[in-house]
């Protein structure tokens, strides 16, 4: 298996992206290994009473020159809350790189990336790294309202951006699975990639399966270790119970028992 690391990083930036999402960038002292879209890090939450385990977050950006890893952290509970309060200059311990990446698209593929909530992180990472032309890549982002969306305009150079909001305050009204790029054009894509809440993943998988389109989703099962030893994060698949942390978090929907 691939070499993995535990190391203290120094937080170089922690900025709010909106009311509940923060961009945290941390620098390592040592040279970073290759980290691919879909992979994640397991983060120790400092000084937090009654938080025992690490918390997993997808990698959002890697800068091999600066030796930094960035992630987008959404406040969900106590651990993520505490993490978003970390200040630049503080140490933060990461276990990395964890999990398997998305299957890279072929050079001629047309792809649809769908992100929900903080699930945008690996989607943007993939858009940037895919090596495809902007014309080949659509990104569909879903959130409850305009305010819940993260500003990703800078990614318009890598992809065509589409938005769905439940209240219609940005882009089309409704869930991502109701959005026109998803409803009308599904078969024009060679590959669909998605990351977001469980419900969204299942909804996407259902339609993609029916349409028989290649589709990979990233799962967020509860984890204790993050590197394949505890067997807590399992997902039932055609090959039995697989570990989301090592066999995933990215799965082809055809493997899943959904």
């Amino acid at each position: 298996m691939a070499k993995k690391f535990v190391a203290d990083f120094v937080v170089v930036d922690n900025k709010p992206l909106n009311a509940t999402n923060f961009l945290i960038k941390a620098r390592s002292n040592s040279v970073l290994p290759t980290i691919l879209p879909g992979q994640f890090v397991n983060v120790e939450i400092n000084d937090a009473k009654e938080i025992f385990l690490r918390r997993p977050f997808s990698v959002f950006e890697v800068d091999y020159n600066q030796n930094t890893i960035s992630m987008i952290v959404k406040i969900l509970g106590r651990g993520s809350k505490k993490l978003t309060e970390i200040e630049a200059g503080c140490n933060i311990s990461l276990v990395y790189p964890l999990g398997k990446s998305f299957t890279y698209p072929a050079a001629t593929d047309k792809v649809l990336l769908i992100g929900g909530g903080s699930g945008v992180a690996p989607m943007l990472f993939l858009a940037k790294e895919s090596g495809l032309d902007k014309t080949q890549v659509d990104i569909l982002l879903g959130a409850r309202t305009k305010e819940d969306h993260i500003d990703v305009e800078s990614y318009s150079k890598y992809a065509n951006l589409h938005y769905a909001t439940e209240d219609g305050s940005l882009g089309e009204k409704g869930f991502v699975t109701q959005h026109s790029v998803f409803v009308n054009d599904l078969n024009k894509y060679d590959k669909i990639y998605a990351c977001g809440p469980d419900g969204m993943m299942r909804a996407i998988a259902k339609v993609a399966k029916a349409a028989d389109v290649f589709c990979e989703v990233s799962l967020e099962n509860l984890m204790a270790c993050g590197f394949g030893v505890c067997l807590c994060c399992i997902e039932p698949t055609n090959k039995g119970n697989l570990c989301v942390c090592t066999d995933g978090p990215v799965f082809n929907i055809n493997e899943l028992k959904w």
């Binding site: 025992f52 385990l53 311990s93 099962n221 509860l222 394949g228 030893v229 505890c230 067997l231 039995g240």
Partner: protein, 303 residues
């Protein structure tokens, strides 16, 4: 230099810091983080005769200074291990002990017989204390007759080092320890997890698919340490101690209480390189306290 070597029956450990079963996979997963030859040994993930899918998701819940798990011995069965995993790990320069589980005594025997053929597995840890399986598991480990029976039958077919892993979910753990000692166990290891439970007050549902699960981590350390101390005072065979060890001081406390070897369990989820750090800190401690050999720490609680 200090001498870290310690023996448990016939098993020589280069140092007393080993990894607990179910929290270090089949050792290869840890090899992604450090050279397996550094640590004293690995107690491999619990194996059963046949493939087991384990329990349904969710299988874990965080608790104050600990966690509950309800894995339920998911593993691909001993044949898969022998064919696919053993060849990959057998040349690690460290002790590999296999953790053996059955629903019936026959299971335990059949499993042991297969394990007996494996040259590089010089000992088994007989798990009669898993709280997460419906049949067998802890049921054997919480009564003297049950513990005795499994130990006796396995002993008949196994000549290498037999370590029996005890359940803490009992009124008197020394009694069980003495019982398995009486049936020929070469050592006992303790503790397995405590049966616990977590509820989500908002959804009013249990947090684990199995309702109850096994509690591990620092939360249980005081109880585990007490049990190791009681058992070490009750039996003549060596004791392998574990339960919430997070640092060298914890490991030393278990040795002072009477453990010859300790296992690091849940702590590796927080930091997979911890066993290596603990070995270094143990050496520092011994130098600082002028302790020549780890054997001079074992059972040396001053009372």
């Amino acid at each position: 230099m200090v001498d870290l070597k310690v023996k448990v029956h016939n098993l020589e450990f280069k140092n007393p810091i080993t990894l607990a079963s179910g929290t270090c996979g089949f050792a290869r997963e840890m090899a992604d983080f450090f050279d397996p030859a550094i640590v004293g040994g690995f107690f491999l993930k619990g194996s059963t005769l046949k493939n087991r899918d384990g329990n349904e998701y969710p299988r874990m819940a965080e608790t104050p200074s600990g966690m509950l798990n309800a894995v339920g011995l998911q593993n691909k069965g001993i044949d898969y291990f022998i064919e696919n995993i053993y060849p990959e790990i057998k040349d690690y320069d460290t002790q590999l002990i296999i953790n053996v589980n059955g629903s019936t005594v026959e299971d335990y025997i059949a499993l042991t017989e297969k394990v007996n053929e494996l040259d590089k597995i010089r000992g088994i840890e007989l798990n009669i204390s898993c709280p997460n399986v419906k049949e067998g598991g802890m049921a054997f480990g919480v009564s003297c007759p049950g513990a005795e029976m499994v130990t006796r039958e396995v002993r008949k077919v196994y000549d290498k080092t037999l370590i029996v892993k005890l359940s803490p979910n009992v009124t008197d753990i020394s009694e069980i320890a003495r019982a398995v000692e009486g049936q020929g166990a070469d050592a006992v290891s303790l503790v397995n997890t405590f049966l616990g439970m977590a509820i989500d007050a908002e959804t009013r549902k249990p947090k684990l698919s199995t309702i109850t699960g096994g509690l591990s981590g620092p939360a249980i350390k005081p109880i585990a340490l007490r049990m190791v101390w009681q058992v070490a005072n009750a039996v003549k065979i060596p004791v392998v101690g574990m339960g919430g060890i997070m640092n060298a001081a914890d490991a030393i406390e278990f040795m002072l209480a009477g453990a010859s070897v300790v296992q690091i369990g849940t702590a590796v989820f927080k930091d997979p390189t911890l066993p290596v750090q603990i070995i270094n800190e143990l050496e520092d401690y011994m130098l600082r306290h002028k302790v020549q050999s780890v054997n001079d720490l074992i059972g040396e609680l001053q009372i």
